[in-house]
């Protein structure tokens, strides 16, 4: 079946049942809107946006099956049947024993960090993620990047740029000792590297190493199904395996997980913490009441837990993932044809434009990625996101992090946009690329204390 359609279009395995009307804007309206938003796409009004590629988080279209389940949500404060359904789906499809629902992924990260991290601990991971690292730091830990070097090279075509460099982990263990490392944090796919997967072989090797040293693996599993799709397509011995079975194998190599269900699980809100350790579960159950809600709803409406239970199952369907990642790939190829510099191979949830190569005349202090995101919006109403120096923030001593990658992320919401939308996006990138030499950079005029990319404001350099 899969082979039969291999060379043909990735046509969606669904049709539209409900649509959401969009407002069309003019160039002068958009110029005004982005200026008022301080050249930060986060601060635009959604109603001024035509195609919203800010994030794939919580922006999914749910299926009629999910909406059906949604209507059967049980809003009981305690012991809701919807909770048990969600718990069962997680146990069945991800294989973890104990489940704590949270209102979204960062709720789970917050609780997990507080339970496992002691002051002075180190948390190695395959590249940082903004909220994840912040929770680790707030709990007194220090993040250590142990991803392979290829991940930081936008031009490398290595198929598993999410892999861990075990020698980097070994160096850390030798330096600080395994006791100071409560867990290794493994993301599937690695968002900040451009939606890049980790291979099963690498994960197995990591499992063996961590077993030897008595270190947990905590799985940041928000895009695990997309990672599994890449394993199926690229890794030897997995071509005939279902995504469902690959996901279960990935999870079986880890000890617990945090998940933002707003990505893979095809919902608009929700997350959870999962663990195979009773002690961790018990402590999490006590903490979740303080931050999120009673452990059988964790800050989620019953209907949202229903939608997650159905969404997890739908996300593991091979046809769904083929269309999902196929659409991202379609956009990437189109942009590539226009000569736009991109991170390769294409990631699972979006296309990452290399802003340093796009705007080589700007220094990193002139925020090339931030500039490019603003330019794209003004051109076509397409909203993208900066993933470079602004997102990277500052070190404890106040100095800027200078990340090697300076990217603009075109994130594709699941099941929302059509092929024609993809064409509009690629054409806009091409038009801006054509006049790239005339583009001037930005200066930052307001900087918040934490996670500055959300709220920072900029001005155009005269």
């Amino acid at each position: 079946m899969a082979n039969k359609f291999e060379k043909r279009s990735w046509a969606e395995p669904y049709r539209m049942k409900m649509v959401e009307l969009l407002k069309m804007t003019t160039k002068s309206q958009r110029d005004k809107a982005i200026k008022e938003a301080g050249y930060n796409t986060f601060l635009l009004h959604a109603s001024d946006v035509y195609i919203d590629l800010l994030t794939d988080s919580g922006t999914n279209a749910m299926s009629d099956q999910q909406w059906g389940a949604f209507m059967t949500g049980d809003e009981a404060y305690a012991g809701s049947k919807s909770y048990y359904l969600m718990e069962k789906a997680i146990q069945k499809y991800y294989g973890y024993k104990y489940v704590i629902p949270t209102h979204q992924g960062r709720g789970a990260e917050n609780i997990l960090s507080q339970i496992l991290i002691k002051k002075g601990d180190f948390i190695p991971g395959n590249m940082y993620f903004t909220t994840t690292r912040l929770h680790q730091e707030l709990a007194g830990g220090t993040f250590v990047d142990i991803i392979i070097d290829e991940a930081h090279d936008a031009n490398s075509e290595y198929p598993f740029k999410g892999n861990v460099d075990i020698s980097k982990l070994d160096d850390l263990v030798k330096k600080v000792g395994a006791k100071k490392i409560p867990y290794v944090c493994i993301a599937t796919n690695v968002n900040m590297a451009g939606g890049q997967p980790i291979s099963m072989a690498n994960l197995k090797e990591l499992r063996e190493y961590t077993h030897k040293h008595g270190i947990r693996i905590i799985h940041d599993m928000t895009r695990v199904a997309e990672n599994a799709f890449f394993i199926q397509q690229r890794e030897e011995g997995y071509a005939k395996r279902t995504i469902e079975s690959i996901v279960l194998e990935i999870c079986s190599l880890t000890d617990g997980a945090t998940m933002s269900a707003k990505k893979d699980a095809l919902v608009n809100i929700g997350g959870f913490l999962a663990t195979n350790e009773w002690d961790v579960y018990e402590e999490a159950r006590n903490l979740v009441v303080v931050y999120e809600g009673l452990h059988t709803y964790g800050g989620l409406a019953g209907r949202d837990m229903e939608a997650i239970a159905v969404g997890i199952k739908e996300s593991l369907c091979d046809h769904h993932q083929k269309a999902r990642v196929g659409q991202v790939e379609y956009l990437g190829k189109k942009m590539e044809e226009y000569g736009v510099p991109l991170v390769k191979p294409f990631g699972g949830h979006g296309i990452f434009v290399d802003a340093k190569a796009f705007l080589p005349h700007l220094t990193q202090d002139q925020f090339p990625a931030q500039t490019l995101a603003a330019e794209i919006y003004a051109d076509s109403g397409v909203r993208t996101m900066e993933r470079g120096i602004v997102s990277a923030g500052r070190k404890a001593n106040g100095e800027n992090y200078y990340p090697k990658l300076e990217l603009v992320r075109f994130t594709i919401p699941r099941r929302v946009y059509t092929q024609a939308h993809m064409d509009v996006i690629a054409e806009s990138a091409a038009v801006v690329y054509d006049r790239r030499k005339k583009i001037k950079g930005l200066t930052m005029i307001y900087e918040p204390k934490y996670l500055r990319f959300f709220q920072a404001k900029f001005e155009k350099i005269k």
Partner: protein, 464 residues
């Protein structure tokens, strides 16, 4: 709107009809005995499918209107600047008159963000009564939470209409004792949940505002039942009959420096919360914390559709026919129980009826939790789930490990909004006939497992 409405007890008509139903499972007593044992005699740990009438809480358990459901379908799920957020923000600004609105996934997140911003070690919070999660949030920051509800509230039988009031004399004494620089905030919970869902009068609120202004203190309204409180002010306080419920709420809000709300009550939604502040500097600090643990400032951990539903719910809740129905249906249960001779907290509050378990189960010693015994009996006899608000929830231990009981041993029957019919309530009243036969029993419960905080949610019990 008129005074006569509250006094006439004709058949209570709902100002709505049913559009969608949720089937319930009917269970036998033997089945429930087993289910309760499995749940460690803690109704919080029961499966909701095993519950017939769920009076555990009025929080997030309400039925939304068809308009709210339309809002759910219209929700804008954009991560930043969604139109559902703009709708909600406009409604909240208009209601509160405060400029900075922060959405949160539910009320406790709003509390945590605000109280960790203004609280901390050595700080004191003073309230008419802190709710359980509020107290936990405050104590979690190593600050102290002090309750000073008015003296009248201590008498369960008096007719005093505003038993939610704070004790102004004690407030002045505490301000003098701790010094205004050490007092993080005065929190007025309206209505006062832990003391029986009792309202706070405008007069009392004004006096608190005056003390706050004179001493430069920060006044927070914990207003998850602000509409219900306004109903009582309108009908029971002199001079307010000509004001609408919404105007009364706005008057009280105009005196507050911040507003925290679990929208799961008077927001008429299943999920959501709000933190609203007047001061820009505090709003900036709170927004930083919001992004870390909740979500971006324009969604705060809520889906777009939930913000849309809340924007609509916050308007619907002030509808005079709705509020009349709401308060009267709670009163209906309270008066029915009183007629049967069940000791309840009087007058009946807005969202729940509180039964005095110490009085009902006189023979069960306090250290054997008479409230928990009643909660278990109600489930076994009728499949009714409710919650103990007494020594299980608020009790502490002395240095010898002996229980320091709470001031009251109450059991709360909370009424979800727009969910149960009068026939359901009549059924509940019938079950109390069985309870009256048990009132001479002598044995209660002991705790076999308890977590370090908020133990009532997950503790296990054993019948003695």
């Amino acid at each position: 709107m008129g005074e006569n409405k509250i006094n006439k007890m004709r058949t209570l008509t709902e100002p709505f009809k049913i559009k969608v139903v949720e089937p319930l499972k009917v269970t036998t007593e033997e089945y429930r005995v087993e289910a309760l044992a499995k749940a460690g005699y803690n109704p919080f740990l029961l499966s909701s499918k095993d519950v017939f009438i769920d009076l555990l809480t009025d929080s997030g358990t309400g039925a939304m209107s068809d308009r709210q459901w339309s809002g759910i379908m219209m929700g804008d799920e954009s991560y930043a600047g969604a139109r559902s957020w703009e709708h909600l923000e406009a409604v909240v600004k208009d209601l509160t008159g405060m400029p900075y609105v922060l959405p949160t996934h539910q009320g406790r997140a709003a509390e945590r963000i605000l109280y960790s911003t203004i609280g901390g070690k050595g700080k004191v919070f003073i309230s008419n009564t802190h709710f359980d999660t509020t107290r936990a949030n405050i104590e979690f920051t190593n600050a102290t939470a002090i309750d000073i509800v008015c003296e009248e509230a201590k008498d369960n039988q008096s007719d005093y209409p505003f038993k939610g009031n704070i004790d102004l004399k004690k407030l002045k004494e505490l301000v003098a004792k701790y010094g205004s620089e050490n007092i993080a905030a005065i929190i007025m919970t309206v209505t006062n949940n832990s003391s029986g869902g009792q309202p706070v009068s405008m007069e009392n609120y004004k006096a608190v505002r005056k003390i706050c202004s004179e001493n430069n203190l920060f006044l927070v309204m914990d207003g998850c039942r602000i509409a219900e409180n306004s109903y009582f002010v309108h009908h029971k306080e002199a001079g307010y009959l000509t004001k609408t419920y919404r105007e009364i709420a706005q008057e009280m809000l105009s005196m507050s420096d911040a507003f925290v709300m679990s929208a799961k009550k008077d927001g008429l939604v299943n999920m959501g919360g709000l933190l609203v502040v007047r001061d820009e500097a505090i709003s900036v600090k709170c927004k930083n914390l919001l992004i870390i643990s909740e979500g971006f400032t324009t969604y705060g951990g809520l889906s777009g559709r939930d913000m849309e539903a809340l924007a609509i719910g916050l308007v619907e809740v002030f509808d005079e026919d709705y509020l009349h129905y709401r308060i009267m249906s709670t009163t209906y249960l309270g008066q029915g129980l009183k007629k049967k001779g069940i000791p309840i907290v009087w007058p009946v509050g807005g969202h729940a009826v509180y039964i005095d378990a110490k009085e009902l189960y006189k023979n069960i010693p306090l250290k054997e939790y008479p409230g928990q015994a009643l909660v278990c009996d109600l489930y076994i006899k009728g499949g009714i789930r409710c919650v103990e608000v007494g020594s299980v929830m608020f009790g502490k231990y002395d240095e010898n490990g002996e229980l320091i009981p709470a001031e009251k041993e109450l059991v709360r029957l909370a009424i979800p909004r727009r969910v149960y019919t009068q026939s359901h309530i009549d059924y509940v009243l019938d079950v109390f006939d069985d309870i009256l036969e048990l009132r001479e029993q002598k044995r209660g419960f002991e705790i076999t497992y308890e977590p370090p905080f908020l133990r009532h949610f997950t503790a296990h019990f054993k019948p003695l």
